[in-house]
Structure formats: structure tokens, C-alpha cells
Symmetry: C2
Subunit: 267 residues, 2 copies
DNA sequence: CGTTTGCTTGAAGTAGGTCAATGTGAGTGG
DNA sequence: CCACTCACATTGACCTACTTCAAGCAAACG
């Protein structure tokens, strides 16, 4: 059933962070956390649930009682259509939070499904309450991360609205590469892409047939190299210029964060 | 477990001119604000700047020092392409905040332009600092509103990725109508649409020619009625079923909000 | 070793784009 | 009151990027 071997996650790459918490290490990349903040983050990863490929982690329409941290594996948020085609709205990599949009509307708007096997750390929604009440700087950090996310989402909307299939594909490959680099800085240009062509098609809003043709064309043009399930980006510059790609993940702006101490207001 | 509050239920001014503080009244629709919270909200609307149609309110690439509340008029966030076509990423109606995504990345990712004349209330970014530090429930409210926004954005991504032109148009009209109803509950099915066909085309990722043909077709099929610049939705049910439209703005979940008093943690 | 799941390829169709011309109403100036 | 203009809307004729359908292939698994 599973044609993939194990997803390679947080193998020790000199970073020195504990493999137990990819989410905490992701956050600490931006700003060192206080002990109190670390405590709150740790509680988001207390529980662990192994999940199989294809498993629905969050069901669309259900009341949103929990959020979750993807600890291992890839997940996607998707919108199913009665009609036929379904659309992947977002790919979640290890260290990212799922279910955040459910905060506002009280139920999950779109289902989240695993595309590889992996491991999810669910935590109750009202854990966020404590973060807003007690560690406002952490709340601000989460907000900042969410807003980077929103920018990336808008970039994707742009590609879907006025990009050709080639441009979308280029943008997709570059974006995934950059995001993987965030947690694996010394990964290089070759990365594991545990998605079937039909999965990519659902991300890009294309058919699997055309995705196949695009990948073939990209390969023939020497833009990429495929050794399934690995992809190597051969000519990033051309891909960037053809898709107008901008890396949105490089840094976040902390200038507006409140100070870590609870009642010390920097204003 | 979850306390939802209906969003409707404020007397609407059918006329069409904004109240003194459309942003505050929009927030108060969700939850009554404490005096302290009101003070912070009021400071977001202290300054006022009249803006002309076509004026660039936020320039892409510039450091994000300010956010703003749209007090009057319509604005759009758009992504320009060297190539040619440009894509509208988001329409901002009165009472909505612009520049929020700039919080995370420290500069404006996409430009914001007025599509009608209007009025913007700019406020400094670090005003958000005070909200996170001192009125956490207001911070949570802003987060909730942003997350509803993100869901709506994902719905749009879905339409752009796997919707036909007809479906996109139907979705667009319904979505705009619902959003306008939020601040004008007794507006009915007829609303002012101050966009040119080319503006709509940029929202939908289509050409103005095709937008024209779609509008003509919709009119001939009796789905809508156009008396420029007004549109009337004649058969909302058909539009809904053909575009799978879901109104995401109806309710907001406050169950996870911290309590209004600063150090009283409801957990 | 047969079955399944996913990849590849060809041929034909279509939704929506492109190009280009014409129509229309709301100013503006004379 | 009429001409002139300018910004948009409308319409027609053709074009193409992508889809659809359908068949064949490869490799992994049972």
C-alpha cells in the first residue's frame, strides 16, 4: 500500500535542536523563547498521534475543538467538490500548524488529509487562550507567522489567477524548495517530493496529464531533474524569473512584538 | 462548548454613508468592547486621509510602518506583473484593515490601490503592540477576523484553481453581496458595484471581454439584473448552487477568547 | 505472477483568450 | 444646443493552452 519509504524528517543536521519538537525549533529560528513561552509551546506538542497516508486529520464542517502541529509527514488542506475536481489549498510540512483558520469560524472550513504517513500533535483550541492571556509575545509571533502564510497564500492566488501552467509549476517547485530549506538549511537543491503527479495537479489546478507533460518538458529543458521521488532544481534562476517567485519566508518582522515580560509594555 | 455570536443585529443605515467609526461598529458586532478596548480601537481611526480613485495607498516593497482602516470607499490589493496581466488579490470594503500581512514580513508584499475615491485611517504598526500587550481579547478578536479572512481567501483560491469562469463570477457576486450585507443588513439584493468590467476581470483572473460576455449571459438567463453601477441578484439559489458558495462571515467563534480583564485568565 | 497504482503518450475537443472594430453615455468646451 | 472626446462596454472572428478520453506501460506489492 505505501509505496513511499519513511519520510525523512528532523535528522540531526548540526542545528542542535531537539528532534522532539520541530515546531519549537521553527519558532526559535525567529526569536529565542523565554522559559514561560517554551512551556506553552511544549504543551502544543504533548500528545502524539501517528497517522497513515490518506487519513483525514480534520474533517470539513466539524466543530473545531482542536488544532494540531504536524510533527512528521506532509498534510494538505483540500476542498472537495461534489462536481468532480478537488483543489489542494495548502501543503503542510513538519513544524506547521493545522486548523488555525478554524479559530475564527468555529468549525473546520476545509478538510486536512495526510499525503504521507506521519505524526500529528493535537492540542485543544483553548490552549490558544492561555497564550493570548499570558504570553502575548508568543501570540504576536503566531500572528506574524500566520501573516507570512497569508502573503504566501496571496502569491498562490496570483499564480492561479494569472499564471500559465508552466509558471504555476515553476512557482510550486521553488516554493516547496524554499519551505523545505527552512527546516533543512543544508539540504541543497535536491529534495524528496512525496507527491504523486495527481497530487501536484490538485495543487496547481491542472490535470494530471498536463502535469506529466510539464514535468517532462521541464526535464528536457534542463530546468529540473527527477529521480523519483526526488527532484533536483537545476536552474533556479530561470525558474524564478519565469514565475516571478519571491521567497516570503526569509525573515519575520519582530519590531512590533510586545516585550516578553508579561506586564512590561513597550510602547 | 463553543459560544457563537450572531453577527447580524445592528441597525443598518440603508442610505450608504459610513457611520463615524465603521471599524469599531464592525468589531462590536462580534463582541461588545470594554472601554479600554474601545480606546485602542478609537486610536486606530484617529487620523483620516482622503484618497482619490487610483491612488496607491500602500506601495509594494516598502517597509511596512503603518496599517490602515478603510473608512470609506473600496480598495484592492493587487499583484502587478512585469509581463502584463495584473491580479486583484483582495477587495477591501469600508471597515476592513489594510496592511495586516505586512506585520509578519516587515514590508508590504502587494500594493493596495483605491478603486473608488474614499478615506483611509492610517495608524502606526506599533499600535498593534499595545493591543497584544494590554488588551489580549481584542488581539484575539483581530486574529479571529483575520482567520475568517483566510478561509475566504482559500475559498477564492479554490475557485481560481478549479472553477469555470461562470462559477467564479457567481462566487464573486455572492461573496461581495454577503460582505456588503454585513455592514448594511437591510440592503436587500441590489447593491452598488463601483468596479469596471476590467476590474472584475482582474479579480477573477479573466479578460474583460469574457467578463462582459458572462455578465450578458447572466443577465439573459435572469440570474442578475444590471443598472450600472447597480447590480441586483435575482436568483441567489441558482448562483449558490452553481458556485458552491458558502458564506463564511455569518458567525465568529469567541469561545477561545481570553477574558476582557487583563490578568483574569479564563482557562 | 497477476493486480494495482501510478506514469506516459496520442488524438481530438473546448473554454476562454486575443485582436480589432464599433457602440455609448457622460462630460466639456464653444 | 451641438460637436468633440474620453473612458468603457459590446460584439465578432479567430486562436491556443489546456482538457478529455483512451490506451499502453512500468514497477511495486500481494
Amino acid at each position: 500500500m505505501q509505496r513511499m519509504t519513511r519520510y525523512y524528517g528532523q535528522n540531526g543536521n548540526g542545528g542542535g535542536h531537539s528532534p522532539a519538537s520541530c515546531f519549537a525549533s521553527r519558532l526559535e529560528r525567529y526569536a529565542p523563547l523565554t522559559d514561560e513561552e517554551k512551556g506553552f509551546v511544549a504543551r502544543m506538542e504533548e500528545a502524539e498521534r501517528p497517522v497513515k497516508r490518506g487519513e483525514v486529520v480534520l474533517k470539513a464542517g466539524e466543530p473545531s475543538t482542536e488544532l494540531g502541529v504536524v510533527k512528521e509527514g506532509w498534510a494538505v488542506a483540500r476542498s472537495d467538490r461534489l462536481n468532480g475536481r478537488s483543489q489542494t489549498l495548502r501543503i503542510y510540512l513538519p513544524g506547521e500548524i493545522i486548523g488555525l483558520p478554524g479559530l475564527g469560524i468555529g468549525h473546520y472550513a476545509h478538510e486536512v488529509v495526510m499525503v504521507t504517513q506521519g505524526c500529528i500533535c493535537p492540542f485543544p483550541k483553548d490552549h490558544i487562550t492561555g497564550i493570548y492571556a499570558r504570553v502575548p509575545r508568543l501570540a504576536a509571533l503566531l500572528t506574524a507567522v500566520a501573516s507570512v502564510d497569508q502573503v504566501a497564500l496571496k502569491d498562490r492566488l496570483f499564480m492561479m489567477g494569472s499564471g500559465t501552467a508552466r509558471e504555476r509549476m515553476a512557482h510550486f517547485l521553488l516554493d516547496l524548495h524554499e519551505r523545505l530549506l527552512l527546516s533543512n538549511p543544508d539540504m541543497g537543491r535536491r529534495f524528496r517530493l512525496p507527491l504523486r503527479q495527481v497530487d501536484i495537479a490538485e495543487v496547481l489546478g491542472l490535470t494530471k496529464v498536463y502535469v506529466n507533460r510539464l514535468l517532462k518538458a521541464f526535464t528536457e529543458e534542463g530546468l529540473i531533474e527527477i529521480q523519483r521521488p526526488y527532484v533536483r532544481i537545476l536552474r533556479p534562476a530561470e525558474l524564478k524569473s519565469m514565475s516571478n517567485y519571491v521567497n516570503r519566508y526569509e525573515q519575520i518582522d519582530q519590531s512590533w512584538f510586545p516585550s516578553p515580560a508579561r506586564n512590561d509594555i513597550s510602547l
